[in-house]
């Protein structure tokens, strides 16, 4: 049986599934329920400095978008950091860590951007026996207006500075949590690295308004008729998170920097994908908030099964295996030619492939053959775009099949060798180079 245990910056956990810093990790009660359910670790909900805690709105804190059957696809929140007293949190953290020594307990922190408050809180956290700290430089709402959270995360120099203070004033591993509300995710990651951070975690939530109420014309979630952008998360953000993780994983300056992957992890498969892109652990929030803590059991069982099938004994055996396959568009093989193929046995005749192709793409799928409703790919027209695969309601009914020989569309032979845009005759850079010669 595969071994799911992880050692991330020396922080050990029985599996890579951590709960992200968020409402599910705000209290001992919740965290213990999570550990009982099987979660490998938690990042305790962000602590602020001593004194009167922040206050939250007393109206809705969450907004959402849904897919078919009201399946939650994206969640947004305008909740702030913990609104519980610092002392209570610290006491509970210490108790939990003592009671659950095999689980990872990392503490998320957010205090003003000055050395003294950071120094103070780090000392207090260290006393609890927590395994590490995560610097919340990502929270996009509320706290950012006060110069914290994403306001720090959007300025690489601040990230570097605070990371440096943290490493200076603490012996705990330091994880910097990155905001996606930035143009180039590599810059803050690099800054964290320069500051001496041991790892980055990403993504934090994305600026969002989930809806506009068409009766009151208030954004959602609505507080007395007004709304403020919140942080977006859940299954809908996974593609954005995967891309940002991959950028850090393959960028020469940040390559090898440990990453804790966050963003829409809902199933074991999502987690495996983050791991394949180099993440040492994954953090989950929305899936737990949607279905409860029990889902971790599906994640554990699914990941074990996958690893057993593939012959991976440990997480390290496949971690990062997808990273070398992330490349720039210009290096993609232009001689790789695929055509869609419809499995007629599996086809339920809904015709969505046809109309998608006919109306919006390449007119490459029939709707009628010999007077019969029949959906078949016209290889002479098919550019291999994959849209039909994506709109088909039946999994694996339509597949993209690589072809060789002559491409029926271009009528030209397919070069079996790899060739990309950098050498393509249509590339202006290639012409100018030829002209120069």
């Amino acid at each position: 049986m595969a071994d799911l245990s992880t050692n991330f910056l020396g922080i050990k956990s029985p599996n890579p599934f951590w709960l992200a810093s968020a409402p599910p990790t705000d209290k001992q009660y919740n965290v213990e329920r999570a550990f009982e359910a099987g979660w490998g670790g938690v990042v305790w909900k962000t602590l602020g400095e001593a004194g009167p805690p922040v206050v939250n709105v007393n109206g809705p804190r969450y907004g959402a978008i849904w897919g078919a059957d009201r399946r939650l696809l994206g969640l947004n929140n305008i909740e702030l950091i913990t609104d519980r007293d610092l002392e209570i949190n610290l006491r509970e953290i210490a108790e939990v860590k003592k009671k659950w020594p095999d689980r990872a307990v990392v503490v998320s922190l957010m205090v003003p951007c000055e050395e003294e408050p950071w120094k103070k809180i780090l000392a207090r956290v260290e006393e609890t026996g927590a395994d590490g700290v995560e610097l919340n430089f990502g929270c996009p709402h509320g706290m950012s207006e006060r110069g914290m959270g994403a306001a720090v995360g959007q300025v690489p120099e601040y990230i570097e500075m605070v990371a440096r203070w943290c490493k200076q004033h603490s012996s705990m591993p330091v994880i910097v949590k990155l905001t996606p509300n930035i143009t180039d995710i590599r810059k803050p990651a690099e800054a964290a690295m320069r500051g001496g951070a041991d790892a980055v975690s990403l993504i934090n939530t994305i600026n969002s308004i989930t809806a506009v109420d068409l009766d009151t014309f208030s954004p959602e979630p609505s507080i007395d008729g007004k709304g403020s952008h919140g942080g977006y998360c859940g299954p809908a953000v996974k593609p954005i998170a995967l891309s940002m993780v991959s950028e850090i994983a393959r960028y020469p300056e940040t390559k090898g920097l440990p990453i804790s992957g966050i963003g829409g992890v809902t199933t074991w498969r999502d987690a495996a994908e983050f791991i394949a892109l180099g993440c040492g652990t994954v953090q989950v929030c929305t899936a737990a908030m949607t279905y409860g803590f029990k889902i971790v059991q599906e994640m554990i069982a699914g990941l074990e099964n996958y690893m057993d099938e593939k012959g991976f004994a440990t997480i390290e055996d496949f971690r990062g295996m997808a990273v070398p396959n992330v490349t720039d568009w210009q290096y993609l093989n232009l001689n790789y030619v695929t055509k869609a193929k419809i499995n007629q046995e599996a086809c339920i005749q809904c015709g969505r492939c046809h109309i998608a192709c006919e109306d919006t793409s390449h007119q490459a799928i029939t709707s009628m053959v010999d007077g019969q409703r029949h959906f078949e790919v016209i290889e002479e027209e098919c550019v291999g775009c994959n849209l039909c695969v994506n709109v088909c309601p039946v999994e694996d009914c339509i597949t993209m099949e690589p072809i060789s020989g002559v491409d029926p569309r271009t009528k030209k032979p397919i070069d079996p060798d790899y060739a990309n845009w950098t050498t393509h005759p249509n590339n202006p850079a290639v012409w100018s180079k030829q002209a120069a010669e």
Binding site: I348, R352, H354, I355, S367, R373
Partner: protein, 440 residues
Amino acid sequence: MNAKQSVRDVKAGRLDARAYGELFSDLHPPLDHHEARVEADRCYFCYDAPCMTACPTSIDIPMFIREIATDNPLGAAKTIFDQNIFGGMCARVCPTETLCEEVCVRETAEGKPVKIGLLQRYATDTAMQAGKQFFERAASTGKRVAVVGAGPSGLACAHRLAMKGHDVDVFEAREKPGGLNEFGIASYKTPGGFAQKEVDYITAIGGISMHYGKALGRDISLEKLAGDYDAVFLGTGLAGVNALGAADAEAEGSLDAVEWIGKLRQAADISKIPVGSRVVVIGGGMTAVDAAVQAKGLGADEVTICYRGPKERMKASDYEQELAKIRGVTIRYNMNPMRMLTQDGAVTGMEFDRNGETVTIACDEVMKAIGQSFAAESLNGSGAAIALDGGRIRVDDEGKTSMARVWAGGDCVNAGDDLTVTAVAQGRDAAESIHRALGA
């Protein structure tokens, strides 16, 4: 058992009062808002959707379901009524299992079609309960059209003609509109006086004058109508009942199923309707099932549908047969009726030939549901001018008869299945044809 020794047992009030309510309540309770949204989400919005092709009125089913899914049930109702002004009744009585739902791709995929009928009912009920009217009359054309029969085809035709600005006079033999919707369909399929509410909803467009108690061939003649009006539409339905022939007898307890169903529908108190303890229903269509299930519902002990052919030829769908069985009705196949057994002028049993063997079923009532026929004599001498085909009025694709300025549709014509939805399509299309012919 010797039928002659049996004592006939026919009486009303076999059940306690509450049981009537349960047995005659809605066969399929309507979907609530949540159920409708969940079900609507299952629709794939197919291209050139098979359900739409299967619908005789070609309702844009994927579009109305998408409108329900996006919380626009009124828009959904408009999409339905655009094609089928009887969308409410059709949602209740259409054999969807052999039409739209049979070809639903989710039937292909999972054996569980989208519940199109129930979604259609959700949308149309929403609009009708809100009293929302979607259609207005065009400016008056001054043209007058006579419609004979206030059933689904006649009223669908009248509605479309009124919409186009024509003035319509509807002549109905009965004292009440609705045709088979009102008189010919099992109570549990359309409880709560729905048929009348629907007629009111449809005629609310205006420009439609109803004339009751006017039967073709008795009170009005085709010749006169053709002279008085710019066009005539015949939607008379089938006034004749197929006879059992030699097997039949004039006897107490020998009943016409359609008439019996109508009586049940019109009864103010169904507990007052007598029913035999043992009932034999002869026939194999929906009428046979409607009669048998209701006889059972009224408290009959043994109800047997006897169909002359094998199971696969039975016209009632598998679903209808299943329903009958669930409700406790026995269905026997290959039962060819030979002789009605009577004693003192009353039914005591029915004798069948089953593959050469004589089978006798003792019973108190025999309900005949072996089909209806067009009463050509109602054409009142004009019959010669209108060509018939297979005993019904011959029409072309647009519903034109062989007689100038006379159209026809519904069960009285020789085209299409004898379904409410087919009648609606024919009435609607004839109205379009009349409108074109009137050149307004």
